[in-house]
């Protein structure tokens, strides 16, 4: 189970995160912390033609939270904002493609929560925090 969870791809994304860093003058800045463990993700997005034109993230936290966020930025790039609002838990689970315990699900979904809250906010829509992780 443990070897499956921390497979090469997760460790690779953890140690060499794609889309890591900040963007100058981003249209969306979104940040959140997982209060129970202190994991932290910040996302910067440039919006172009109502799509994710560019996206970067920074953060602190476990391999799962950082790798999942990095994969999510790759997945989101080029998608329409409308599509991003419909991202859900299963999308992230498909991306990371590892067995994950309930306790660690929150880690995996932190990036999703940050991205969705940021996009909703940009669109002037309100999103309940509980729904951001679904």
């Amino acid at each position: 189970m443990i070897d499956e969870m921390y497979q090469e791809m997760i460790l690779d994304y953890y140690r060499h995160p794609r889309n890591h860093g900040a963007l100058p003058h981003p249209d969306i800045i979104s940040h959140d912390v997982n209060t129970s463990c202190g994991d932290e993700i910040m996302m910067h997005v440039l919006v172009k033609d109502n799509r994710i034109g560019n996206i970067r993230f920074t953060g602190k936290g476990c391999a799962i939270s950082q790798a999942a966020s990095s994969m999510l930025t790759e997945y989101a790039l080029g998608k329409s904002l409308d599509e991003v609002t419909k991202f859900n838990k299963q999308d992230v689970l498909n991306l990371i493609n590892i067995p994950i315990s309930c306790m660690r699900l929150k880690c995996a979904l932190l990036g999703l929560k940050v991205l969705k809250l940021g996009v909703y906010n940009y669109l002037g829509k309100k999103l309940e925090v509980e729904d951001a992780e679904d």
Partner: protein, 404 residues
């Protein structure tokens, strides 16, 4: 001839039903497991003696009151206090909030200083920040050295500035550092500064006597010392308790109530509004009996030995970063290479080892240590050398998983 009993952790273990699950529990600093005697005491109260306290005159109510007040006496004797100086609260956090609000609002004013240290738990920071915000007081934090200790020169310098109160932890829940509370309190008193001692990590593990320490306030939680959760203790010198206004109003804390107002009950009941956690207090009383049957000196020596053993092994591994001094209580926080503490803890869990990871409710200290989180093992009298070995073996597996 006085028999010197040596603690047998194998025997101690047998007193704790939870260990039937066959796991290695290394998180006693977060909460201790419960021995059967404590569980039995709580069950027995509900099955045989349950009634509200301080109210009915029938014999069942009298019995419940005696059990509740009997627990208070046990706790008082355990830490060398008078029963009237023992206030039952939910936990150490609540106790600090009472002192900050009740004592603080009368004694702390704008531009006064509240002196804390960099190694405090959130529970000994946030209540002070709240009262500081309300009053306009400032908070000053004593820095820790590279080894995770407090520096005597800083302590005496800070105390000469006459802070209104000095609140510090007896033992750091992250670093395992044992502060020289007696000397620090004496130094504070020389400067006329009262002291609140957070004894959450010391009272469960070593002999602690408030008269010997001469602290003005001391707080601790029952659940860290084999008692149930939801019961804790605020100790304060009698004259301080007498001078403080209650934080909560309601039943049991009053002497007389009219439609116009009320007068307060005597201490400690003035601070115990509403029906208290009766079974919790009784459970804590049973926990103290249990601790005393093991012997506080024995518990301390056993846990310090385990920490020494674990530390020596961990130090051999240069992938391991250890926080805190060599001489310490049974608490070791560490990191493993670039592995996040949650990942360490997740791997350990696969080998049935319960170890905490995260910021340990010490985010400012984590900042000071320049790490977002760390993993922590902490010991109780039920832990064995074999537990440490199992932990060390699992740590090797964790390194393998992360190719360290």
């Amino acid at each position: 001839m006085a028999a010197v009993s040596i603690l047998d952790p194998g025997k101690v273990r047998a007193d704790f039903p939870l260990f039937a699950r066959g796991l290695v529990y290394l998180d006693t600093a977060a909460t201790a497991q419960k021995p059967k005697v404590v569980l039995d005491a709580i069950k027995s109260f509900y099955e045989k003696s349950n009634a509200n306290v301080h109210r009915g005159v029938y014999s069942l109510a009298e019995e419940a009151t005696q059990l509740y007040e009997g627990a208070r006496k046990k706790i008082a004797a355990f830490i060398g206090a008078h029963p009237r100086e023992i206030v039952f609260v939910r936990n150490a956090t609540e106790a600090i909030n009472i002192v900050a609000q009740s004592w603080g609002s009368r004694n702390i004013a704008a531009n006064d200083t509240i002196l804390l240290t960099e190694m405090e738990h959130h529970s000994n920071i946030v209540p002070w920040q709240m009262i500081a915000k309300k009053t306009g007081a400032k908070i000053s934090y004593l820095p820790i050295t590279e080894l995770g200790r407090l520096d005597n020169n800083y302590i005496s310098h800070a105390l000469k500035q006459k802070p209104k109160i000095f609140a510090f932890t007896h033992i750091s829940n992250v670093l395992g550092t044992v502060n020289d509370a007696k000397e620090m309190i004496a130094e504070a008193h020389k400067n006329g500064v009262p002291v609140l001692l957070d004894a959450s990590q010391s009272v469960p593990h070593m002999p602690v006597n408030v008269k010997d320490l001469d602290c003005d306030f001391m707080v601790f939680s029952g659940h860290k010392m084999f008692g149930p959760s939801g019961i804790g203790v605020l100790y304060a010198k009698r004259e301080l308790l007498d001078s403080m206004e209650p934080m909560l109003g309601g039943g049991d804390m009053i002497k007389e109530v009219t439609f116009e107002g009320a007068t307060w009950n005597e201490v400690p009941w003035k601070f115990e509004a509403g029906t208290p956690n009766i079974s919790g207090a009784i459970g804590l009383g049973a926990a103290i009996d249990y601790l005393q049957s093991l012997g506080m000196e024995n518990i301390w020596n056993h846990e310090v030995e385990l920490a020494k053993y674990a530390l020596a092994q961990l130090k051999k591994d240069d992938v391991v970063t250890i926080y805190g001094p060599d001489e310490r209580a049974g608490i070791i926080s560490f990191n493993l290479g670039d592995m996040h503490a949650h990942d360490v803890s997740t791997v350990l869990d696969q080998y049935k080892i319960c170890a905490r990871s995260g910021h340990h409710c010490c985010q400012p200290l984590m900042q000071r240590l320049d790490t977002p989180a760390c993993a922590r093992i902490s010991f109780g009298p039920y832990n064995t050398k074999e537990d440490v070995d199992a932990f060390l073996a699992a740590l090797q597996k964790a390194k393998k998983v992360f190719r360290l």
